[in-house]
């Protein structure tokens, strides 16, 4: 059975997808993917997980037409992934930021915008919004080669969004980003998901995947090992957790005694802890309120306007509206 194959509006269809890498003499060398089948429906956020060498990046490269499948069927947005038309609606963030070092941030985004045939005014408007969103408006005229890895990564994210894509393929989207950047990327993914975008992301950081994904596919050795919704896969059906305001020692003792009588043994009690990411974000937020950032990344201005706008209200994208103007 094809994983995720129940929906009526599949954005990605992979059936029996196999990729065999061959050597110079065409002898099989590595079977990176072996009869992988899955579907991704419109509006889903799907995480592709797996250890190193599991076939995640190969799967993504096949989806983008960078590699050709040895066997199997692959359809992206209803077309072959090598079809130029289907690429108009895809945004891709690569594992590393393969950008041109000699171009400035603004030139980079403008170049990729031109490849989507976006008009000059639309490009200008989107570049401004994107640079503001990724906190690099002050560095728009600096060459990418002078950027830190995290800053270049943010430009990589911006270029993937320049066309307001329907399908986003994100390979390790939070790699190289600081915790604020990670949080912002996750917020961005959730915002885009709210707008009905389909997102496929691969990551080693399981917490990131857990935070944003509706569904996960776990690959191992080129095969799908597990898949399903995050909730179904992670829910422990043998236990439950109660969270309540802090209790006085006497009240707690009484509650535990009642529970011991009801379930037969005494439950574990501890104080909930903030996770480190949340704590870090709070500290930085306070620091930003005191002093403006002089180098590196500015405080983000939130998701770019054209990306955050709810499409349901008008049924039109920002691009459509600008053309109408």
């Amino acid at each position: 059975m094809i994983e995720g194959g129940t929906g009526k509006d599949p954005v990605i269809i992979a059936e029996g997808l196999t990729k065999v890498f061959r050597d110079f003499w065409r002898r099989p060398k590595v079977r990176a993917l072996d009869s992988v089948s899955f579907q991704i429906q419109k509006g889903e956020v799907v995480g592709l997980l797996g250890p190193n060498g599991a076939g995640k990046t190969t799967a993504i490269k096949l989806l983008l037409g960078l590699l050709h499948p040895t066997r199997g069927l692959l359809r992206v947005l209803g077309r072959s992934p090598r079809h130029v038309k289907s690429k108009e609606r895809i945004g891709y963030l690569s594992e590393e930021s393969f950008l041109y070092d000699h171009l400035t941030a603004e030139e980079t985004l403008d170049f990729y915008g031109r490849l989507f045939d976006l008009g000059r005014n639309i490009r200008k408007e989107r570049i401004n919004q994107l640079l503001e969103m990724i906190g690099l408006k002050h560095a728009r005229r600096r060459a990418i080669g002078e950027f830190s890895k995290g800053m270049a990564r943010r430009i990589g994210i911006a270029q993937a969004l320049i066309n307001d894509p329907e399908l986003m393929v994100l390979d390790e989207p939070t790699s190289g980003l600081d915790p604020i950047g990670c949080r912002e990327v996750k917020d961005l993914i959730l915002t885009l998901a709210k707008r009905g975008k389909t997102i496929l992301l691969s990551s080693h950081l399981l917490a990131d995947v857990e935070d944003v994904c509706d569904r996960i596919i776990i690959l191992y050795n080129g095969r799908v090992c597990a898949s399903g919704t995050v909730q179904n896969l992670l829910e422990d059906q043998t236990a439950c957790r109660l969270t309540m305001p802090s209790l006085s020692p006497d009240t707690l003792k009484e509650v535990l005694e009642i529970m011991r009588q009801k379930i037969g043994n005494t439950p574990d009690v501890d104080r909930p802890q903030k996770d480190l990411e949340q704590f870090f974000l709070e500290v930085v937020q306070k620091a930003q309120e005191v002093a403006a950032v002089k180098t590196g990344v500015d405080k983000s201005a939130g998701v770019a306007g054209y990306l955050a706008r709810e499409p349901e209200r008008t049924g039109k994208t920002v691009l459509d509206e600008l053309i109408e103007k």
């Binding site: 890498f21 037409g65 590699l67 130029v84 690429k87 891709y92 000699h102 170049f111 990729y112 031109r114």
Partner: protein
Amino acid sequence: MNKIFAIAGLAIRTAVRSRVFIWLMILLVSAIIVLPLILKGDGSAAGRAQVLIHYNLRIIAIILTLATVWVACGSVSTEIRDRHIHLLVTKPVSRLQLWLGKWFGILCINAALLSIGGGLTYGLLLWETREGVLTEEDRATLAEEVFVARRPFYAETKSHDSIATETLEALMVRGDIPENMPAQRAYKTIKRFYQLRENSVLPGTVKEWRFELPMNMGPDEDVILRYRFSSSRQAQRRSTAGMWTAGRKNDLAPFRHRHASYPGGAHQFTVPRAAIPDDGVLYVKYMNAETKYPATVVFDGNSAVTILANSGSFSMNFLRAMLVLFIRLAFFASLGVTAGSLLSMPVAVFLSFFVLSLSSFGDYIASVASTGLFYIPHHPEHVEPTTFLNTIAQSFFKCMNVVSSPLARLDPLESLPSGLLISWAFIAESILFLLIIYAGLSAVLGVGCFNRREVAL
């Protein structure tokens, strides 16, 4: 087109910011300034100008060709190596647009550098031959010999095919052809014998040529007769006296020119307009008048005697030469981009330089393609080593000749310094062969294979 321009713009930016453009410009300007200081010519003003045109433009062509091949080979292969291609091909850009964008970008860089190089050479030429630097006589010679654009007219040639065939058949019947000499080789030898006999002028004898010149020539449009010959006393370096006459078929009185000239080099003299009949059909006769050291004179080949008629200005001819150089660069750019689309940078560069070298060895390749690799022309027993290896080698050289022949033939720098016209027909031929056929085939091959290539391997 926007996508192609975007990719072309990127190629230009890369060239400028990686300082390739700046270094090439410095190299070009240095070569243009330094070369005239080194080269002296034959001491005459015309010779100096010819050397300046020939060597300056040749060095510009060489530098730009090498740079074009290098940059073009790297334009796609480095994108693949550095993985920039991952972001490029995941955008709605076809491989054809990518190929064209890269090619167009390199053409823009070439156009800019060629304009700078050509403009500087032309400026230097005007500067070195300006009024006050040269005598009026030198300037007049320059205007007559170098700063001109003359169309060459060649004499009608007689075909020796039928007589060579008849002779071969007769010799075969008599059994006078050596057993191991192929008929084709015997035919070529016989034909060559008749050609040499036709073009030889023994002492005291006369040879005649017939030229068809335009009928609408102006009243003051004198023409130049240019000739080169070899002599049976060539090794002794002796001059040979000759008498040239020109006019109508049976009336060569209008013009006579007696001259003792040395074999090997090119010689020329002016034939006045008055000697040219109104119907444009000019007969030229040469009498071997050498009496002190009698020698047979041979005017070998179609271009041994040519009539040169004025046809346009030198500046326009110079521009046309630049245009042909640009077309040649466009071909090499296409070759480089294609090689870089299919192969890694070092292999692509190696392959492109191999093709480039074919243009330098055009004569040798043509000769091997015609005779084979192991032809021994003066072997006493006419031994013909028709081995399998020789057949393979000959076929290989024939294939190479297909590429090298137009590259060697369509070279504007053979004509420009001699004041020969680079005609629009020559440009059209360059466009047809180098741009449409060769660059087009290279593009089709490049895009076709690039389309099938997995760029993320």
